[in-house]
Structure formats: structure tokens, C-alpha cells
């Protein structure tokens, strides 16, 4: 017996049972039949045909017009039959695309990997989570021959695959910066030229770059329109914005960036982030930067990496596990 005959038989049995005694039990069988028929790709117009055949068999004296009405019903059901077939194939395509994007996300992960430097003077924590599968945020650490640590954080305007593709460019551009030129303003200036040259004029990137020198505990930094970070001053126990002015990357190839300096004392913290952290939308609207400072305070006793992990988890929960934007948070904590 082929599948179709088998399905017809099951339909016949379940319908007969229902007609004998119209109870919920028999309707539940109907739902199971529905599932089974869909599993075996029986299309809805076939169901109508089965139903008609059953009625003809069960009630031979049925008025001819009633039977005819099923031919009309079947005709109307054809459109649904086509939609049903399209659905099967769309599901398959969707699955393939998802797999492809998953692979691409893995490729991206490997491409963008950066090693967190291990030095005594600084405790470093970093986390970056894409809103969808591919990340349009990026962070990067580099340590030069003088033990200076460079940290970059960038965000492409936009999300998803196009943003991810753009971001891969920043990564290579950073990789190919000459070893001796990690001054924040000149880093941003040379990246700005790369972006201006390679990227579609409608795509912009915000970026913050900082350089920490453990020998004089100076942190120099510059920003290309990036979401301002925070500075925690351990002596006074206060947080302030890590303000820095500068145009987005890719707007004008001649942009110059101003460089700022700060002396980092023991226990001080530098907090860098993307706007996905501050633009976290909860049921009560966007969180305030104050809320974020509260969260940082609450987790300050932890190790830097645990801090960023915890803050992420708490913000993820506050927005019902639905990230609206890529999320990147970096904390540098001075031990000296």
C-alpha cells in the first residue's frame, strides 16, 4: 500500500469514528491525522478530495449538488495548495540560508579574534555579542615592543551581514598598521583614510582608540564619533564620561583627531562600550547611563572579565533576551 492510500485509509477510519460518535477524542484523532498528512506532504486539495470520496461512500443517496459543491471547494483550495507547496520549499531554503550565515559567523569569529594582553599593571575584561548572528562591532588589542597596550573599539552604523563585512576591513587595516605608530590620533587618521577609500559613502564607522603606557601610567585616547566610555576615579569613587571629540570614520579623508591624556591611578577603571550597551531597551524604555553606572558599581568587586560577563547577563535579562544592537563592553582596571 503506498503512502497516499495509507493516508486515505487513516482519514476514512478517523472520519467514520467521528461520525459514529461526535466526541473530542475523535477530533483529537483528526488533529493527529492532520499532522501525519502534512508529514507525508499530502496537500490540502487532496484532503478535500478524500473527504468527498468518503461522503459518497457513506451516504450514497446524498444530493448530487452537495457532491458538486466539493468540486468548487477543491478549486478554491488549489490556491492554498500552491501556498502550501511554496511553504515546504521556503522552509528548506530558509534552513540553508541559516546554515550559511552560521558558517559565516564562525568564519568571522576566527577572523576577528584578538588576544587579550596579559600584563601585571592592567586587568582586562572584554565581551562582544552580536544582535543577530554576525557582529558589526569589533574590538582589538595590541601590545607593542615597549609594553604599551593599544585598545580599539569600533561600531559600523548598521547590523548584520553588511556591517560584518565592513568590520572585517577595520580588522585588517589594524593588523597592517606599522608597529611603531600606535598613537591614538594617528591610528584613527590612517583608519579613516582606509574607510574613506574602501567603503561605500553611505557606510560609516565609529571608533575609539586608546593607548596605555605602563611606564608612566598615561592613557592617551581619541574618538571618531564613538559612544563615550566612562572613567572611574578610585580616589574619589566617582564616574565621569570619557569624552572625546571627533568625526566618524569615512566622512572626510582629511579628518584630524584630537588626542586626550589621562593619568591612571591604582584602582582606576577605563570603561569602553558600543552604543548597543547604552541603547538597551527595557520595558520602561531605554536605560540611562546612570543605570549602567549602577550596574558597574554593583560588579566592581569582581575581576574585570567577570564584571563584563555579569553586566552583559544582567542587561540581556533586562531587555528580555532580545538584543536590538551589537553589544561590546571592555573594562580596563589599573593595578598599579
Amino acid at each position: 500500500m503506498d503512502i497516499r492510500e495509507n493516508m486515505e485509509k487513516k482519514y476514512h477510519e478517523a472520519l467514520s469514528t467521528y461520525l459514529k460518535d461526535q466526541n473530542e477524542q475523535a477530533l483529537y484523532q483528526g488533529q493527529k491525522i492532520s499532522r501525519l498528512h502534512i508529514k507525508y506532504n499530502i496537500s490540502p486539495e487532496e484532503i478535500i478530495s478524500m473527504h468527498k470520496n468518503n461522503l459518497m461512500e457513506l451516504y450514497p443517496e446524498l444530493p448530487g449538488k452537495v457532491l458538486d459543491s466539493f468540486d468548487f471547494l477543491l478549486e478554491v483550495m488549489m490556491g492554498y495548495g500552491i501556498a502550501y507547496r511554496e511553504h515546504q520549499s521556503l522552509r528548506h531554503q530558509q534552513q540553508e540560508l541559516k546554515t550559511e550565515i552560521e558558517i559565516a559567523a564562525n568564519v568571522q569569529h576566527t577572523l576577528l579574534e584578538t588576544e587579550i594582553p596579559d600584563i601585571k599593571a592592567l586587568e582586562i575584561g572584554a565581551i562582544s555579542v552580536p544582535a543577530r548572528q554576525m557582529n558589526g562591532d569589533y574590538y582589538h588589542f595590541v601590545q607593542d615592543e615597549n609594553e604599551r597596550i593599544g585598545v580599539g573599539i569600533a561600531d559600523v552604523i548598521g547590523k548584520g551581514i553588511p556591517a560584518a563585512l565592513c568590520m572585517s576591513m577595520i580588522k585588517y587595516a589594524m593588523d597592517s598598521l606599522p608597529e611603531h605608530r600606535h598613537e591614538p590620533n594617528s591610528v584613527l587618521e590612517s583608519l579613516n583614510r582606509v574607510v574613506e577609500h574602501n567603503v561605500d559613502p553611505s557606510m560609516f564607522i565609529t571608533m575609539f582608540y586608546g593607548l596605555y603606557d605602563p611606564h608612566d601610567r598615561q592613557f592617551s585616547y581619541a574618538s571618531a564619533g564613538h559612544e563615550p566610555g566612562f572613567y572611574y576615579d578610585a580616589a574619589t569613587g566617582t564616574f565621569s564620561d570619557l569624552d572625546a571629540k571627533g568625526l566618524l570614520l569615512g566622512v572626510d579623508k582629511k579628518t584630524r583627531y584630537r588626542q586626550y591624556e589621562k593619568t591612571v591611578n591604582r584602582g582606576d577603571m577605563i570603561i569602553l562600550l558600543s552604543d548597543g550597551v547604552t541603547e538597551c531597551r527595557t520595558n520602561d524604555g531605554f536605560i540611562e547611563r546612570e543605570t549602567l553606572i549602577g550596574l558597574i558599581r554593583k560588579n566592581m568587586h569582581l575581576q574585570a572579565q567577570e564584571m563584563v560577563n555579569n553586566i552583559y547577563k544582567q542587561l540581556e535579562k533586562m531587555q528580555n533576551f532580545q538584543l536590538r544592537d551589537d553589544f561590546t563592553l571592555i573594562i580596563l582596571k589599573s593595578n598599579v
Binding site: E24, Q25, Y28, Q31, R35, I38, H87, R91, Q94, Q322
Partner: protein, 133 residues
């Protein structure tokens, strides 16, 4: 709350009892036959989900009357393994896959509101509502 009634889901026949309860309440509230069938199917899927994945639990039906709007609320609860990745379970493409049950996204599509809370290791609670138009 005017009325609440509950069916324990332990074996497959309890699914039928939950369906029957839901259908009766839907009929009482004045839902038409198509909506009755939708509500019943949603209940069936939720109860089946409990039976298949949690082993046991309960389905309660509540009549609603808020600001003159009548409605029916389904509450499906279990202390089963919970759902690790809710986003994934609710994704399209799971609905009619493998014949293993239209499952939760299917039930969601048949109702007006659908809320799901799940803690891995502790259980799942689903609240679904349909309003009388």
C-alpha cells in the same frame, strides 16, 4: 477572574480532556466554530508539549472580562526540563517540522497573545489569550 478550571496532564488522554474543557469554555463565551477549533488546537499543542517533553503538568482555562472585553486564557505549566533557547524554539520552520507537533509557534499563531517563561531545570509556564471580537 470569574472562573478557572484545570486539567492535570499525565497521559495522552488528558490532552483530550484539556481540549474538551477549552472547547466548552470557548463555546460558552460565544466564540464561533472556527475560533473554537483554533483555541482547542492551541490547547492541544500546549498539552501535547507538556506530555511529550515535561512528562507531566497542567492546563488551566480562565474566562476573562477586562474593560468589557471577553476572552479566554490558557495557562500551561510544567516542572519539566525547561527550554534552553526560547528564541530558537519559537523560530519559524519549527512549526510543521518532522511531524513532531506543530508545537509552540503553531499555538502562538492561533492565539492573540502568547507569553512564555522558562527556567532550565525548573520548568515552563505559558500563558496564551484569545479575545472575543
Amino acid at each position: 477572574m470569574e472562573f478557572q478550571s484545570c486539567v492535570k496532564i499525565i497521559n495522552e488522554w488528558d490532552i483530550v480532556a484539556a481540549r474538551q474543557l477549552g472547547r466548552n469554555v470557548a463555546k460558552e463565551l460565544g466564540f464561533g466554530t472556527v475560533d473554537q477549533a483554533r483555541i482547542t488546537t492551541a490547547i492541544s499543542e500546549l498539552a501535547r508539549n507538556i506530555y511529550l517533553y515535561a512528562g507531566q503538568g497542567s492546563v488551566s482555562i480562565e474566562k476573562l472580562n477586562i474593560n468589557g472585553k471577553s476572552g479566554l486564557k490558557i495557562i500551561a505549566e510544567d516542572q519539566g526540563p525547561g527550554i534552553e533557547d526560547i528564541r530558537r524554539v519559537m523560530e519559524d520552520g519549527y512549526t510543521t517540522s518532522g511531524g513532531l507537533g506543530a508545537g509552540l509557534p503553531g499555538a502562538k499563531r492561533l492565539m492573540d497573545d502568547f507569553d512564555i517563561e522558562s527556567i532550565p531545570g525548573e520548568g515552563t509556564k505559558i500563558i496564551a489569550t484569545k479575545w472575543l471580537r
